[in-house]
């Protein structure tokens, strides 16, 4: 086993997360796909940090976590606001601007 295995795992998780965003129609589940992608990125960053023997990668991963927390707060607020007006958490229902 080498450190590349971690990168492969990270790549798989990232792909699954992106597929979730593309395929699922429930806004909350799609949002969890975004979280999965961010986590996969963090795994890659931590692995790179170990590979180069520097902690900068971990600091970057830490900032990614903080930004993810902020993003979750705003995103979930948007979902709740849409659910209040539209009574639906489905992404496809939000096409009011279409013609």
């Amino acid at each position: 086993m080498t450190l590349t295995h971690y990168l492969v795992l990270s790549g798989i998780l990232f792909s699954v997360g992106s597929a979730t965003v593309l395929l699922r129609r429930n806004a909350i589940i799609a949002f969890m796909g975004v979280e999965l992608m961010l986590n996969a990125t963090n795994l890659a960053l931590v692995t790179f940090s170990r590979m180069h023997g520097e902690l900068t990668g971990q600091v970057l991963a830490f900032f990614v976590m903080v930004v993810a927390a902020a993003e979750v707060v705003v995103g979930l607020a948007i979902i709740v606001a849409i659910f209040r007006t539209r009574r639906s958490a489905s992404i496809d229902d939000v096409n009011l601007l279409k013609s």
Binding site: H5, N42, M51, Q58, A61, V74, L76
Partner: protein
């Protein structure tokens, strides 16, 4: 700021000597993975991939959230194994502890049973999505496969004075401006969430005073409605109360019973009262049961009502007396 950093590092140095002796040995932050790390990886990696696919395929959103939590906790294990002890702890505390709980909270708020719609708004979106996901996987595999990596250095020297201290030196030293900006971002996000979930009141707030005024203006009953027939012969919810003239008050029966049609027949009571007021024969009143025993004088029929008040109160008292055995039977 430098004083803050110094304080933080002193605190860390005071709190961490035992851990600093323990952790680097345990996680073996050498460049090349050890056998133990390989075992942990090969146990956790399949679990994580399966859980990630669980997120992709789960029908219920709660199951998807649980799968993501599993992935995140496994990731925390991998972080600690790779020498990122601080990130491992933060992963558990922030991601699984705060973010995923927030997800579950919103899930409960929005409704657990919010299932996916099966109607495709964009035609062929399913295939395009699968294709894009697979394409991304192939691209990433190509990148990871063809890139040349340096010989892994390992975090042995970087983590010399424990991992949290090394990260603290970087965050509050080289990246202190980024730290400040991220703090501003967090405050902005909190404000944004407040603004998004704030509902503007379109109508003025209705207080107790406004409600009372509206009631008086509408000319409705100001006092509470009379209780159902506890004044008269019966002591039951479905029996209407009697007004001072002896007439049944329909509104005294609870609305639910009236809607269901379960109230005792108000017309029947009205007819009975009419008979009493009209002074029908004692035989007829004997059939009714109790009036004969109590020998109440039949009151005169007087719609004007004022003079009839006293005997009727007497009637009511007699009725309550007689109703006692009735209610006991009812129990």
């Amino acid at each position: 700021m430098s004083a803050l950093v110094a304080g933080a590092t002193e605190l860390a140095a005071g709190a961490l000597p035992a851990v600093s002796g323990l952790l680097p040995r345990a996680v073996d932050s050498a460049g090349d993975p050890s056998t133990a790390e390989a075992v942990l990886f090969w146990v956790l990696a399949p679990i994580m991939v399966i859980a990630a696919f669980g997120l992709l395929f789960a029908r219920k959103a709660v199951h998807a959230a649980l799968c993501v939590i599993l992935v995140m906790i496994s990731l925390a294990f991998l972080y600690v194994t790779q020498g990122a002890v601080f990130l491992g702890v933060v992963q558990v505390v922030v991601y699984t502890g705060a973010i995923m709980m927030l997800f579950l909270f919103v899930l409960m708020l929005v409704g657990v049973s919010s299932a996916d719609s099966l109607v495709e708004t964009i035609r062929g979106q399913r295939w395009i999505g699968w294709l894009a996901g697979l394409g991304l996987l192939v691209v990433l595999a190509g990148v990871i496969g063809t890139a040349t990596y340096p010989d892994p250095v390992g975090l042995g020297t970087a983590n010399e004075s424990t991992n949290p201290r090394g990260i603290a030196h970087l965050i509050f030293g080289q990246y202190v401006f980024a730290m400040e900006v991220v703090g501003a971002l967090l405050v902005t996000a909190a404000l944004g969430a407040l603004v998004f979930t704030h509902r503007r009141r379109l109508t003025p707030r209705l207080g107790q005073r406004e409600r009372a005024d509206a009631r008086v203006r509408a000319g409705q009953t100001l006092a509470p409605l009379p209780a159902p027939g506890v004044y008269a012969k019966h002591n039951a919810m479905d029996v209407p109360a009697l007004d001072p003239y002896g007439r049944p008050i329909t509104s005294s029966v609870p609305r639910v019973l009236r809607v269901r049609g379960q109230e005792a027949d108000a017309a029947e009571y009205a007819a009975r009262i009419d008979r009493v007021i009209a002074g029908k024969s004692a035989v007829e009143r004997g059939a009714l049961g109790y009036e004969e025993q109590h020998q109440t004088p039949p009151p005169q029929a007087d719609p004007a009502g004022a003079s009839v008040g006293a005997p009727q109160i007497g009637d009511a008292v007699a009725g309550v007396d007689a109703s006692a055995p009735d209610s006991e039977e009812g129990k």
